[in-house]
């Protein structure tokens, strides 16, 4: 079944088979990207615009490399928050880009829903590169791809997501992707950041799984031994000012991951550790663990390009065999 979408707004919208199609497409893309000459002519003459309302070197670069590997032309636009307050509207900017010939607008925005809102207003494809606390679908896809690469499967895995789930777009995309592919998700953190009832976000969009697809745990130590993989989220330090946790020190005592702790608390020997980056090294994860064999952080970065190539390729109308 060919992939037929104009936009990639979130993993909530995708079916299991669509997600799998993207992951399957990303595999050959990774090979292309690993060659000395990293070029494929598929998107020659097409234009992708990175429209970033929040600074993000990693995601922007990853999209740029993905597009260029497929020979698309890339324009980068970094919009400072100040020009938003000057009254330059997102719709106006997007219409301008469209008039200039943009085929895809890759949008990073601090407002949840901005890509979905924009997608209804422009003919160009909209790719969500992270919107507020909502979704970061390509990050979710690259997490799935990396996990599958490491574990050979997603189905039946127990994956912990540790940290500020409440505000994390990565957590939401991971939740959708993992549960749709049959993994169980354990959300771990203080109750202020893993709000009661969050498991009910699946209510409107149930997945068919034997076990409850989402469980919540406040105690990392208790739940660590059953996990096959863990996604460590970046802690936004400004959350402390809003009274969501008392101090960085206390957060670190309760939820930081390091190799010693994994041993003491009885983590599985083949536990995979991931982080969407950029990590607060020493805060939510130790530098030593981030650089260890358990860590898949480097692979995540590399796989990110392949997954984004696959997304662009499929949005452009390609199929796995085509």
């Amino acid at each position: 079944m060919p992939f037929q979408r104009k936009d990639l707004l979130g993993l909530e919208d995708l079916t299991r088979s669509e997600i799998e199609e993207i992951l399957d497409t990303a595999r050959p893309m990774l090979e292309v990207f690993s060659r000395p000459v990293k070029k494929y002519p598929t998107l020659r003459g097409r234009i992708m615009v990175n429209l970033f309302y929040e600074p993000s070197t990693r995601t922007r670069t990853s999209f740029e490399l993905a597009a260029k590997a497929l020979s698309a032309d890339v324009v980068n636009i970094a919009v400072s928050t100040s020009s938003v307050t000057k009254g330059e509207s997102l719709a106006d900017t997007a219409h301008t880009l469209e008039a200039l010939g943009a085929d895809w607008i890759v949008l990073r925005h601090s407002s949840s829903g901005a890509p979905a809102w924009l997608a209804r207003r422009v003919r160009a494809g909209v790719i969500n590169a992270g919107d507020g606390s909502h979704e970061h679908p390509t990050q979710g896809l690259l997490d799935l791809f990396t996990l599958r690469q490491r574990k050979g499967r997603i189905e039946g895995l127990r994956v912990g997501i540790v940290g500020d789930v409440l505000h994390s777009r990565v957590a939401r995309s991971d939740i959708w992707g993992l549960t749709k592919l049959g993994a169980q998700v354990v959300l771990i953190g203080p109750p202020t950041l893993v709000p009661p009832g969050i498991e009910r976000i699946l209510d409107k969009n149930p997945v068919h799984a034997a076990e409850p697809p989402i469980t919540v745990a406040y105690d990392l130590k208790e739940v660590l031994p059953v996990l096959d993989a863990v996604v460590v989220l970046r802690l936004q330090l400004e959350r402390q000012k809003r009274g969501l946790f008392p101090s960085v020190e206390e957060y670190s005592r309760l939820y930081r991951l390091d190799s010693e702790r994994l041993r003491e608390w009885g983590a599985k020997p083949d536990l995979v550790v991931m982080h969407p980056g950029p990590a607060n090294l020493g805060l939510e994860i130790s530098e030593e663990l981030a650089n260890s064999d358990r860590s898949a952080i480097r692979e995540q970065v590399r796989n990110g390009v392949a997954v984004r190539m696959a997304v662009l390729y499929l949005l452009a109308g390609g199929t796995v065999t085509g």
Partner: protein, 490 residues
């Protein structure tokens, strides 16, 4: 108000007259003399020869030529009518007849919660455009909230609104004064001077009065004037930064939530303060949106606390799911936010049983340039003056959730009573000021915001197919809106 030059003597023939204040729902003729309701006679009675002795034959002489408006009553009927109407009619030379067959004849509706934005935000709405939107939507009276720039917190500001409204010659506009100076929640505004100038209530709508002692004093002080204190119930410390109802849907969409608990706790606090203030203090809760608040209202009523409440059509008909299904359309962003299906059902049940007294639109116009932005950057608000009646007809009356009488009570008599409006507003009793609307209950139309008289186009009901439309609207016996002649005559 200058309302001369237009004939204000009318004979509305054969419509279905619905006036719950007088237990009336029947086909009847209505006579308006000098801008007031002079007589109402059931059709059978009027044709047979009413109490005053009008003979059926004489009146039916005019029936064929009646048309929908603008025809002089034949002189053959003069004697009989004069008898039927008593001494009220000196001469019938100016009496015009209007064939209301197939139409509903309702007391002019009253919207006790609208934002007209003038002074200060005239690009969103003006008193004139808002008053026209009101009348086209069936509301002959509206009460406008004081969150203008500057706030309506003194007599001069209240008089300004009344003068602008009089000049607009559309719906009547009754200003609501601020509870506190500048709506800052610090000092009581000059309530007496505002009431003298024409304010019918006080409210800091947009915000609750956070200081409990201050609200208590406002409730006590307003006792002296017999006006209601209207509270927007919320806890700003809980709702700060929130843009939609808190819960799984907000978590799913990644939007900051506004918990129901903020509204519920504020309603509870305010009811206790009304009880403290003592007998006669009148608290009115604006735009109730939660099942919890309904339970608190039930408790308060059972304790004998004098509290009234209103609900909006959007809270009765939509839920937080609209935010998701619309793809984050800011036209679904409103304060208080659209809540859950359980809340919606509780509100509907409370409205049906009378625990919630009134339907009010909370008409809140914004420029499309302000609304057509990312969800969390857009202002709160939905326009409602021109959609409320159609929504009530289509989604509440047609499915049998409310009778016409129940609906008219909640849209006219009840809010008029809460505000203590003069002249029998919201009713059609003899002697009442003739604010009357004629509605075609079967007329089908589509919500097209571009055709609104309001400057605001921000409605989540865009594209909805509705039934029920105002055809004629009289204010003080003057026909000001006539859809058959293109709308406004004034």
């Amino acid at each position: 108000m200058k309302e001369t030059n237009s004939p204000r003597n009318w004979w509305l023939r054969g419509g279905r007259v619905i006036d719950p204040a007088h237990d009336r729902d029947e086909r009847a003729d209505v006579w308006i003399v000098d801008g007031r309701i002079a007589a109402i006679r059931p059709v059978e009675e009027a044709r047979r020869g009413g109490p005053g002795g009008a003979s059926a034959g004489a009146i039916s002489d005019n029936e064929d030529g009646g048309g929908r408006s603008g025809h002089e009553a034949g002189s053959a009927g003069d004697e009989e009518l004069r008898a039927a109407l008593g001494a009220a009619v000196g001469t019938l030379a100016g009496l015009q007849t209007l064939d209301a067959d197939g139409l509903l004849v309702l007391p002019g509706l009253v919207d006790m919660h609208v934002h007209l934005r003038e002074p200060g935000q005239e690009r969103k709405e003006t008193i004139a455009t808002g008053a026209r939107a009101a009348l086209a939507g069936g509301f002959t009276s509206v009460a406008c909230m004081p969150n203008t720039e500057p706030a309506l917190d003194n007599a001069a500001a209240i008089r300004f609104v009344r003068e602008r409204a009089a000049a607009a010659r559309a719906a009547r506009v009754y200003p609501i004064g601020a509870i506190t100076k500048g709506r800052r929640g610090e000092e009581l505004a000059p309530v007496g001077e505002m009431v003298e100038a024409g304010a019918v209530a006080i409210s800091d709508d947009g915000n609750p009065v956070a200081d409990a002692a201050l609200l208590r004093h406002a409730l006590e002080y307003s006792l002296r004037f017999g006006i209601p204190v209207i509270e927007h119930c919320d806890d700003p410390t809980l709702s700060a930064g929130g843009v939609m109802n808190e819960g799984p849907t907000a978590l799913r969409l990644g939007l900051r939530g506004i918990p129901a608990a903020g509204e519920v706790s504020c309603v509870f606090r305010d009811c206790l303060l009304a009880e403290l203030a003592g007998t006669g203090a009148r608290l009115h809760i604006a735009h109730v949106s939660t099942a919890g608040a309904v339970e608190v209202l039930r408790w308060a009523r059972s304790r004998g606390i004098q509290v009234t409440a209103e609900v909006t059509p959007h809270h009765l008909l939509l839920t937080e799911e609209a935010v998701a299904s619309s793809g984050y359309d800011p036209d679904t962003k409103v304060n208080p936010p659209l809540r859950t299906e359980a809340d919606r059902r509780a509100l509907l049940a409370a409205l049906r049983e009378g625990l919630i007294d009134c339907i009010a639109s909370d008409h809140a116009p914004h420029m499309s340039e302000e609304k057509n932005v990312e969800y969390d950057l857009a202002p709160f608000g939905i326009v409602g003056l021109e959609t409320t009646l159609g929504l009530v007809v289509t989604d509440l009356i047609a499915p049998g959730l409310l009778t016409w009488s129940d609906a008219v009570w909640r849209l006219a008599a009840a809010p008029a009573r809460v505000l203590g409006l003069p002249g029998g507003a919201g009713t059609l009793g003899p002697g009442a000021v003739a604010d009357v609307v004629l509605v075609d209950p079967e007329a089908e139309w589509v919500v097209e915001p571009g055709t609104f008289y309001s400057r605001g186009r921000n409605t989540p009901f865009r594209g909805r197919e509705l039934k029920g439309q105002v055809i004629y609207a009289f204010v003080g016996g003057e026909l000001r809106f006539d859809r058959t002649r293109g709308g406004f005559l004034t």
